[in-house]
């Protein structure tokens, strides 16, 4: 099942902070975060694994609540370059969900000067 992202859209001024959430109805093995600019391919930001391991972007942080099957992406001191659509991709533990990502519908982030 597709994870649900919130909010659907965020508008910020440079320097402001934002949080994007990703919720799943199934137990998760990993959560991936990608950013996509208009007309371009998604670009990797962060991976969060069950057990607390994280890999990713130095200036972007994220959390993974395994009990609630939720992840949050924290964008601090936003820059104009942060504008784009943010997608979470979730991987389950077993069966057809393991080894593959199911992506959320995306959160559109716009940063103004």
């Amino acid at each position: 099942q597709q994870p649900v992202q919130s909010p659907q859209a965020v508008i910020l001024r440079e320097g402001e902070d934002a949080v994007i959430n990703c919720s799943s109805s199934k137990a998760l093995y990993s959560v991936h975060w990608y950013r996509q600019k208009h007309g371009e391919a998604p670009v990797f930001l962060m991976i969060l694994l069950k057990g607390g391991e994280q890999k990713g972007h130095e200036k972007i942080s994220a959390s993974f609540n395994e009990k609630k099957q939720q992840s949050s992406l924290y964008l601090t001191a936003s820059q104009l370059s942060y504008s784009g659509t943010y997608f979470c991709g979730t991987e389950g533990f077993s069966g057809t969900s393991y080894g593959k990502l199911t992506f959320g519908q995306g959160t559109i982030l716009t940063v103004h000067p």
Partner: protein
């Protein structure tokens, strides 16, 4: 390294025509994926491969076929194109399965079926 490359970048098909979308990677990655992205939506997995000769269906495989004869190439075949297949198609690769490994995406192929 070129990373993940896709051809063509754009294509217009008529209903009922067939075509092959090409994807190649030069990173010696084992896993390769095909996604489609409809306007304003997220990515949906069509097919994926864990290595040469091994492929499996994703979420939306109907109307598509794949093959993986080499580690580098993973073409996607559209048979009998339909307007519902109008979309942007992304190929991606990762060194192993997604668990702790990022996916690298190609630039995409924008397909319109009229």
């Amino acid at each position: 390294n070129a990373g993940v490359t896709q051809t063509p970048k754009f294509r217009i098909l008529k209903i009922g025509q067939s075509m092959t979308l090409q994807c190649a990677q030069d990173m010696n990655h084992n896993y390769m994926y095909w996604y489609r992205q409809d306007p304003g939506m997220g990515l949906k997995l069509i097919y994926y491969s864990v290595g040469a000769g091994i492929t499996d269906k994703g979420e939306v495989p109907n109307g598509y076929n794949v093959s993986r004869s080499t580690t580098e190439d993973f073409p996607l075949r559209l048979e009998l194109a339909a307007p519902s297949q109008t979309s942007v198609y992304f190929c991606a690769s990762s060194i192993q399965g997604v668990g702790g490994n990022e996916q690298f995406f190609g630039p995409g192929t924008r397909l319109t079926v009229l």
